[in-house]
Every structure is written in structure tokens, then in C-alpha cells.
């Protein structure tokens, strides 16, 4: 019995909710629309409450580093847990408007914004060095990719027009027309991938979500 409750009932519940959502779209039945709407609100509540699940997991990993005094790592982890606790407490002083707290606001206006933008841009370095040391036209595929890429890059940079007057027109062709067949095909293929994945989930075959692997 326990096994059924733990597996089969869950897959049945997933399938029923999936069918309700599909019926809500194709059939104009008010009761179905109401149930689907309520389920979507519940999904939002569950997702919102689960937001700190990631935080709990990461804090657990770093707390273990501190407990075990993992060399070279534990003091960074201790600092992370300390910052998390301090800033969360600062925010809780005024939950409706946390940035009313000057220290909280200062930390986010300066440390968080700078670190976020710095981190997000770090790939620019890697692209520049990879462009020089790794992007090779080793076959026709890579050659076509690099040629189209260079024209789009020179179209995006205002200096492209200075190098050769035709560059913006060619670069724009790649952007407006050249890439459409490929991107359109990726949309179609991804759509079928999603339908297949949904079909297998409907019949309880895709179990990656539930933490147990097929």
C-alpha cells in the first residue's frame, strides 16, 4: 500500500492536473477553467514557498564545510553563512520594505549590483581568448558558423560600416533572414520534444522530477 501511495497516486495526480490544464485551453467549460485557475494559484504558492529550498540546500553544504573544517574552504563557507544570516536578519527588520534599512540598502546598491554585473560579464573574457585559441574552421559546419558570426558581429558594431559599406546589409540579412530557417526549426523540434516529454510524464514514465531516477 505504501508503495502505491508513494508512486502511483503521485503519477495519477500529475496526469490529472496535466489533462485539466489542456482541457482548460481547448474547452470553454467554466468549471474546468475555475479548477485550472485555482491549481495555477496553488502552483504559484508552492513555487514561492520553495524559493528558499535552494538556499537551505546551499547553506547546508557550507555549514558542513565549517563543521568539518575543510581546509582552504571552511572560512569562506563560514563567511558565506554569516553574510546570509546577517543580511536576512537586516531584511526581516521591515519585511514589507527591507531597503528601508540603510545597511541592507547599502549592501545591495553597491556590493550586490557590482558583483552581479561583474559575474555576468566574465564570459566576455573567455569568448575573447576562445576566439583566438579555439574557434577553428575545422570543417564546413564551423566555417559557415564563423562566417555568419563575423558578419553579424561587424553589423552590430558601428565600425563595421566603416570597414566596408556592404557589411551592415549582409549582417542584417543574416540576422533577419539567414538565421530564420534554423531558429524556426529549433522551435518546431523543441515543441515536439516538449510534447514527447509531456506524453511520457503523463504516463508516469519521466521521473527525474521526483528525485528518483528512471
Amino acid at each position: 500500500m505504501a508503495e502505491v501511495v508513494r508512486r502511483e497516486v503521485v503519477y495519477a495526480l500529475t496526469a490529472i492536473i496535466t489533462v485539466i490544464m489542456i482541457a482548460d485551453f481547448f474547452l470553454a467549460i467554466p468549471q474546468v477553467n475555475a479548477v485550472a485557475g485555482e491549481l495555477r494559484t496553488w502552483a504559484t504558492i508552492i513555487s514561492t514557498m520553495a524559493l528558499t529550498l535552494g538556499a537551505v540546500n546551499i547553506i547546508r553544504v557550507h555549514s558542513r564545510n565549517v563543521r568539518k573544517r575543510v581546509p582552504g574552504v571552511w572560512y569562506h563557507s563560514a563567511f558565506l553563512v554569516f553574510i546570509f544570516a546577517l543580511v536576512t536578519l537586516l531584511g526581516l527588520t521591515n519585511i514589507d520594505n527591507p531597503s528601508a534599512n540603510p545597511v541592507y540598502k547599502w549592501l545591495f546598491d553597491h556590493a550586490y549590483v557590482s558583483l552581479g554585473q561583474t559575474w555576468y560579464a566574465i564570459t566576455g573574457f573567455y569568448i575573447a581568448s576562445a576566439a583566438y585559441r579555439a574557434f577553428r574552421a575545422r570543417n564546413i559546419d564551423a566555417a559557415l558558423l564563423l562566417i555568419a558570426g563575423i558578419f553579424v558581429m561587424l553589423m552590430n558594431a558601428p565600425i563595421g560600416e566603416v570597414i566596408w559599406a556592404q557589411i551592415p546589409a549582409i549582417g542584417r540579412w543574416f540576422n533577419d533572414v539567414g538565421q530564420v530557417p534554423a531558429m524556426r526549426t529549433f522551435l518546431i523540434v523543441a515543441a515536439f520534444g516538449l510534447l514527447a516529454f509531456g506524453f511520457r510524464t503523463l504516463l508516469g514514465r519521466e521521473r527525474g522530477f521526483y528525485g528518483e531516477v528512471a
Binding site: 495555477r40 546598491d109 583566438y132 558581429m153 558594431a157 565600425i159
Partner: protein, 274 residues
């Protein structure tokens, strides 16, 4: 050791040399701007035309699904679009799926002088944060009050005049989304298609390719990152941050293009020798 050509030596330049070269090349244009003209793409032009069709009192939703970390790419488009919407006297509802979205909203209000003559809660409002991916976006289309019971400061939603009579996609004239990820797809699948709400994408440049197949039938207008922002700034005649960024793009792009060409000439030379 076979006779080492110039190409082989060039191949072994240390990575850090390229990183330093890039960072220096990024700094120079800010000190001595080139001021080269920016070409306008048809996608940005169609976005502006769509915005100009809005009439006074039309309710427009701006979805902020890009973080503080993407400001150099996404903030200029958000600022330019907000300026045009204020000129059209539209009512603007901001909401965000990023935990730091309120900082983006406050930055937009700071950078758009037009907000000074308007009243928060009557002409524009920020309803705050939501999460939950496609189910939440779909529920917003049918019942906004199920997801937002207050604005981002905690004021109950029914005390906001702008929200009177506005509770679903049927009451919204247009959705404009600034994305770094998938939320634009959710608005296309749950707002644009079922309810026909005009949709525009003003996210990072990378997403320009993802949404190009939808243009113009499903996505009426698009801007691609900082370049799109600079185009909008030029179209509305108010140069801003993106215009400065685009001026600095030249040197970094030249470095990448020259690097690829140089490396491949070397590769072709060594391959012919082998």
C-alpha cells in the same frame, strides 16, 4: 622539432595577455568616443510604431525578467520604452520575476524624468515579485489579483486607482518583456496566443535570435540588448547609456573578429604544412 613558424608562436600566447588586451580595448573608447552612427533595425522601428499606436489610458504591462546583473544590456531599452509610454499617456504596470526586480524598477523611475509629473498608483505602479514560471504567467492572464494582493511596497491592490477594472489579459492592451531567459516564451504561449495581447521583447541581444522567427506576426517589435536600446534612444532623439555602450563595442568586437581571422589563417597555414 619542426621549424616553428610565426603561427605556432602566435598560437601559444598566454590567455591572460588576451584578457588584458581586451580590458584595455574596452576602456579606450570611453576616454575617446568615436561617435559612429548606429544603424536602425526594422525590429526596433516596428516596436516604436507599435508603441505610438497606444492611446491615452491604455494599460500596458512591462514584465522585468532580467536581473540587476543585466542592466548594461536591458536597462536602456526599459528606460526608452518607459519614456515613450509616458509620452503616449499610457498607464504602466511593472512586475518582475527576479528577486532584485524592485531595484530595476526604482532605477527606471530615477532615469526617466517623465515620472516626476505622474502619480504613483494612478499613472504607473510596480506590483512586485512573482515566481512559478509558466503556471504563474498563465494565472496572471486570467486573475491578476490571485498572484498580486498588494503592490511591491505592501499597499493593498484595491487601493491603487490604476488597478480599478484591471484583473486579466483582457484588460491589458500590450505586454513588453525584458528577458534573459524563458519568460518571454511563457507570455507568448499564455498571453499573446490565447488572448491576442500584442507582445514585444526587449531583452538581451542573445534572445534576438530566439524570437526572430516570431517577428512580426507574433512578436510585433524587438530590441536586441544594448544595440536595441541605442537604436530606441536614437529613434526618440534622447541618447543615453546604450549609445555610450555601443560606442565602446567597436574595439571589443574588432578584437574578436581579428582574433578569429588571424587564428584561422594560422590554422590553415599549419594544416597545409602538415
Amino acid at each position: 622539432m619542426s621549424q616553428e613558424t610565426i603561427w605556432d608562436r602566435l598560437q601559444r600566447i598566454d590567455r591572460r595577455v588576451i584578457y588584458w588586451l581586451l580590458f584595455i580595448l574596452l576602456i579606450l573608447p570611453f576616454l575617446r568616443p568615436l561617435g559612429l552612427p548606429i544603424s536602425i533595425s526594422p525590429q526596433s522601428r516596428s516596436l516604436l510604431e507599435g508603441l505610438r499606436k497606444l492611446k491615452e489610458g491604455d494599460v500596458v504591462v512591462i514584465n522585468i525578467s532580467s536581473g540587476v546583473s543585466a542592466w548594461p544590456e536591458c536597462l536602456p531599452s526599459l528606460v526608452a520604452v518607459s519614456k515613450v509610454l509616458i509620452q503616449q499617456k499610457a498607464k504602466i504596470i511593472y512586475w518582475t520575476s527576479f528577486v532584485d526586480g524592485h531595484m530595476t524598477f526604482e532605477k527606471i523611475v530615477e532615469k526617466v524624468p517623465g515620472f516626476k509629473g505622474l502619480t504613483y498608483g494612478v499613472d504607473y505602479v510596480h506590483l512586485g515579485f512573482y515566481t512559478g514560471a509558466e503556471p504563474t504567467v498563465a494565472q496572471l492572464a486570467t486573475n491578476i489579483r490571485a498572484i498580486f494582493t498588494t503592490d511591491y511596497k505592501g499597499t493593498p491592490i484595491d487601493q491603487l486607482p490604476i488597478m480599478k477594472g484591471v484583473n486579466s489579459a483582457k484588460d491589458v492592451k500590450m505586454v513588453i518583456s525584458s528577458d534573459t531567459g524563458d519568460y518571454g516564451d511563457y507570455y507568448i504561449r499564455q498571453w499573446r496566443i490565447p488572448y491576442g495581447v500584442p507582445f514585444a521583447e526587449i531583452g538581451i541581444a542573445m534572445l534576438f535570435s530566439n524570437y526572430q522567427p516570431y517577428w512580426p506576426e507574433i512578436v510585433f517589435g524587438m530590441t536586441g540588448g544594448a544595440k536595441g536600446g541605442a537604436e530606441l534612444e536614437k529613434l526618440i532623439g534622447e541618447p543615453g547609456d546604450a549609445t555610450v555602450t555601443m560606442d565602446a563595442i567597436n574595439t571589443s568586437h574588432l578584437l574578436v573578429v581579428v582574433a578569429v581571422i588571424l587564428a584561422n589563417l594560422g590554422y590553415a597555414a599549419t594544416r597545409r604544412r602538415r
